[in-house]
């Protein structure tokens, strides 16, 4: 008897994903950034001040030039990867965790719980864009941790809505009905049978939201609500650089370029993942 070849979803996915060169390239860039963020070269001192070269333009000694204290911008951007990526990644993951739980519960149980959760999301959605995060920071005060809290809350409703709608459609499927009829516990159905089904949409949203979170965090820093200007954070560097516009354009150009490239990488990766995971679009 001939053995039937089983298509494993994971293998299928990898095969399809590898064909999308731009997405793969973006993923490599992100992996590199995360690597830099975690294993920062200890030889780099972002606060070393070269007082002979204040606001110096890019040169062979200082690739991206120096800032107002003569600190090397390239080093500060490399070291800043940790704060900038750390803030956005952690806030998106916290938002995703809470949002997914709420979405699963809302979609599965329905009724009053669902209305309460979904109406709360509507309320969070009625604060236009970043203004919710700005409002939260206005209450709890500036600082890196508070920015993480604000952006997490800002992200929750998007995840809740998306996970809820996947849960609703999965809940109608036969295998869920079968598990219910043989008496599988609700929590088991939710986490073992329904949750894996929401993962594809969740991954795409997660990737896209990271891009938004990086911009939001940088915007809050730029407005003066985020990391303190002494810390090497990309948004805070732009905020300082603004005072030297005209004098030292490189202080604005490179940190912004880093933010742009990182967000672009996450968005391109998200696009690639969506095209791979959603067969309807092909």
């Amino acid at each position: 008897m001939k053995e039937e070849k089983i298509k494993k979803p994971y293998k299928e996915f990898t095969k399809k994903f590898i064909q999308r060169k731009i997405a793969v390239l973006s993923l490599l860039f992100i992996v590199l950034l995360v690597f830099i963020g975690i294993f920062q070269p200890i030889t780099i001192n972002p606060d070393f001040a070269d007082y002979d070269n204040l606001l110096a333009p890019p040169s062979s000694a200082h690739w991206f030039g120096t800032d107002e204290y003569g600190r090397d911008l390239f080093n500060r951007i490399i070291v800043g990867t940790r704060i900038s990526l750390g803030v956005s990644l952690s806030s998106v993951f916290i938002g995703a965790l809470i949002g997914t739980l709420l979405g699963l519960v809302a979609g599965f149980y329905g009724g009053k719980i669902e209305s309460i959760i979904m109406r709360s999301c509507d309320v969070l959605f009625s604060f236009p864009g970043l203004l919710l995060a700005i409002g939260i920071v206005a209450i709890i005060g500036p600082g890196v941790i508070n920015v993480v809290i604000a952006i997490s809350i800002y992200g929750i409703p998007s995840f809740t809505r998306i996970v809820r709608s996947s849960t609703l459609s999965l809940n109608k499927l036969l295998y869920i009905e079968a598990s219910k009829s043989i008496g599988v516990s609700n929590s088991r159905i939710l986490f073992i049978h329904i949750f894996p089904g929401t993962i594809p949409t969740l991954i795409v949203t997660l990737t896209m939201r990271i891009g938004t979170a990086i911009i939001s965090a940088a915007s809050l820093s730029f407005l003066g609500f985020g990391a303190s200007p002494t810390k090497p954070d990309w948004g805070a560097m732009l905020s300082t650089g603004r005072d030297y516009i005209g004098l030292a354009p490189h202080m604005l150009f490179y940190p912004g370029l880093m933010i742009f490239l990182t967000v672009l990488a996450f968005n391109l990766l998200g696009d690639g993942l969506r095209d791979t995971l959603d067969p309807k679009l092909n």
């Binding site: 864009g129 516009i245 912004g256």
Partner: protein
Amino acid sequence: MYRIIKNKGGCDKTYILIIQEKMRYYILKRLINTIPIIIIVSILVFLFIHLIPGDPARLLAGHQATLEEIMIMRDQLGLNDPIYLQYFHFLKDFFSGNLGTSIKTGLPIKEMLIPRFKPTLYLAIFSIVWASIFGVVTGIISAVNRGKALDYFVMIGAISGISLPLFWLGLMLIQVFSVNLGWFPTGGVDGFKSYILPSITLGAGIMSMIARYTRSSMIEILKESYIRTSRAKGLSEILVVGKHALRNSLIDVVTIVGLQFGFLLAGSVLVETVFSIPGLGRLLIDSILFRDYTVIQVILLIFTLQFIVVNLVVDVMYGILNPKIRYE
């Protein structure tokens, strides 16, 4: 009225009446859904001062205030009343136009706000207009040339536009066009010219968004059988795309333009900061930095209510434009 429709579309009178009934029901449902949201949002904004750790009266009176001053402040703000009463006073005052006074400048908030509306409004209008026009046009060009180099070029541009931190774009534009070339002022509001760079900055992301949605909606529509029919009839490509396809894709585009309104409001905060435009967004940021809590409260409420109303209008318009939604 009914007869005209009947002759044109071949529908009978009862059918039209049913649709009108459903439409009315849809709008009513949407309106009723909005009311609790407005109430909760206003409660949240009202609670804003109470959510900040510490005694609101002490916060508002400042650090150096004596106990007596704090007591007077308590009395003035009605903080001795029960909290629900305070909320009703807050709402009544807000909707009767009595916005209170700033705790930092002592000026009536209404007077502080009025001159700030115009710059924000102009900025929003200029941005959304150019972003919609260019977004729709590039989206169509991209869809018609799907898979060709031009399509790739537009789509790479669009995803870059979405990924750009708009305050950085603004700063770069100032650097190149104001500092280096000297074509535009670096900031402030002084005639139409000073709105050009800020509007480009604020509109860039929205334009990219609109271009992406127009493209995907256009691609879907170009597959429809009525497009094939129009082509088979021998209509010119311009007429097929520009009239038959565009009309239907505009339904989606209207929604997207509406949804971008939130982005526009939040973006105006950043753009006004970058270009030193004395608008509402800038006032909000200044108030947060100066801890002028009463002003923050009023601006947050204005922004949120605007956003809720625009979303409502967009939803209703979508219902009117797209008959499918009425049957849900």
